[in-house]
């Protein structure tokens, strides 16, 4: 059940690094996936969503990593 988001993150995740969260969210949605944008030091629950990309951002709202789940 991990294929979708995992495959996308592996193939395209790096492409959204450096983008603003909003820009990255658009790309994730365009891929049919659901973005979860998290800000630094926030706390998130740890269910894995096969259709979700978690976008980690820095204090400027720039994406630093895109992870599946």
């Amino acid at each position: 059940m991990t294929a979708e988001a995992t495959a996308w993150a592996a193939e395209h995740g790096h492409e959204v690094e450096g983008l603003s969260a909003q820009e990255a969210e658009v790309r994730v949605r365009a891929a049919g996936l659901h973005p979860r944008t998290v800000v630094p030091e926030s706390v998130v629950t740890l269910e894995f969503r096969a259709d979700r990309i978690t976008l980690h951002t820095d204090s400027d709202g720039v994406v630093t990593a895109a992870r599946p789940g």
């Binding site: 592996a10 706390v43 629950t45 895109a66 992870r67």
Partner: protein, 431 residues
């Protein structure tokens, strides 16, 4: 349109599959009850809005979470030491205490995954280096992986759970199964998979209890009867990355009695949890619901959340003593403001994000709302004569009912005419 709903579910005015809520406490009856909801014909309409939490769904969750936010202050300490087999069934504990290998077990799959399995595989980059290995045979005893079909969201979620009884009672986080229309659980020590039904949930405390269908003879987890101490070595075992392969992340207890508020997502509010164990173990998505074990292999907590984005991961776990206490309340079978037994009632509408009342954005295919002819543009004004001036009010009104209840819905249709219709609420997705 904003997601909001009452609660999802199955359908049929006719016969909802045995409402999960009717599931008796273990030891009283048992199995045979069908799995959780299978939303007949629910595919069409709602799936067009994939990734949008349906009103019914998210409203249900939001209500529960909001209600409980900040309300649950848990006792962070417990007297005594030693271990105890999880005995939480009505029969007085039929569980089989698992023999844990305190050393971490060399008889397992080995400390390193030869494939170089990495947690959070597919990550574009790592803001935090994740340190974990494939779990050993000893570490996976009493641990299950959980996959929930989110029928109204066109998705799946994965998490982890803990075997409480040999007959298949499972402890996990509520958020692992929230929105589920069917649940499959795999006992990782045997590879056997089971359909599971929701015995009950406490969204405020983020605890759920499941019952595996037709399960017997399962090895159970061994739980600690007291909290760990700061500095204690711990290992988090979980379904990291949702791969179905359990991994183990080692760390220490870095603090106790911690409070967190998780980040909100979409229409779902964040949750505030208190009395948590803080750990340095690198827990990641998929680990929720899994055991945090001490150096003797006893479960001391349930992995629930983690910080994000930093150079180090900080994990948070609900103390097992707290979790078992909540589970016992669920198994007592009495609903409270926090505890729901079985699945929630479900009308099946998505609601617009409007301040002009409960404006229907759409009726989910196969639901009571659809059968009643509710459609986009209708404004629901009352439930059983009680005004519902907002989406929240509608959600609350539906949540006060049980699946199978017959309720009168008053609404103003798109042409401005007042209408009433009587519907039979069905089971919703887990909330």
């Amino acid at each position: 349109m904003t997601p909001m709903n009452d609660r999802p579910t199955d359908v049929s005015d006719s016969t909802p599959d045995d409402p999960a809520g009717s599931t008796p406490a273990e030891g009283v009856a048992g199995s045979g009850t069908p799995v959780v909801v299978e939303p007949a014909g629910s595919a069409a309409a709602p799936r067009a809005r994939a990734h949008t939490r349906i009103a019914a769904l998210s409203m249900a969750a939001a209500v529960l979470l909001t209600t409980g936010a900040g309300a649950g202050a848990w006792a962070a300490t417990a007297a005594g030491t030693g271990s105890a087999t999880a005995a939480i069934d009505g029969a007085g504990g039929s569980g089989v205490t698992s023999a844990e290998d305190p050393t971490g077990g060399a008889q397992g799959f080995g400390p390193q995954d030869p494939r170089g399995f990495g947690r959070q595989g597919g990550s574009s980059s790592a803001t935090a280096a994740v340190d974990s290995t494939e779990a050993t045979a000893a570490q996976i005893v009493g641990v299950v992986t959980i996959v929930s079909d989110l029928g109204y969201e066109d998705g799946q979620s994965a998490g982890t759970g803990i075997v409480l009884t040999s007959s298949g009672r499972i402890l996990t986080n509520d958020h692992v199964i929230a929105g589920a229309t069917s649940i499959e659980v795999t006992v990782e020590s045997t590879g056997a998979s089971y359909a599971a039904e929701v015995v009950g949930t406490n969204a405020t405390k983020d605890i759920a209890v499941l019952q595996l269908q037709d399960a017997s003879g399962l090895a159970t987890a061994t739980t600690a009867s007291s909290q760990p101490a700061e500095g204690d070595a711990v290992t988090a075992v979980g379904n990291a990355g949702g791969t179905g392969t359990l991994t183990a992340a080692e760390g220490t207890v870095t603090d106790l009695d911690e409070q967190i508020t998780t980040q909100a997502e979409g229409a779902s509010a964040g949750e505030t949890l208190n009395g948590l164990i803080e750990t340095s173990a690198d827990v990641v998505s998929g680990d929720s619901g899994g055991p945090l074990k001490d150096s003797s292999g006893r479960v001391v907590g349930i992995t629930t959340a983690a910080s994000s984005g930093g150079s180090d991961i900080t994990g948070y776990a609900i103390p097992i003593t707290t979790a078992l206490s909540v589970a016992e309340q669920i198994l007592a079978g009495r609903e409270t403001d926090e505890i729901r037994i079985g699945l929630p009632a479900f009308l099946g509408v998505s609601l617009d994000d409007s301040t002009d009342g409960a404006v229907v954005g759409g009726a989910l295919a196969g639901t009571p709302a659809a059968r009643a002819g509710l459609a986009a543009g209708d404004v629901i004004t009352a439930v059983d004569g009680t005004p519902v001036p907002s989406p929240d009010a509608l959600s609350t009104a539906i949540a006060s009912h049980e699946p199978g209840d017959r309720v009168e819905i008053a609404y103003t249709d798109a042409a401005g005419a007042s209408q009433t219709v009587t519907v039979v609420l069905t089971e919703g997705p887990a909330a």
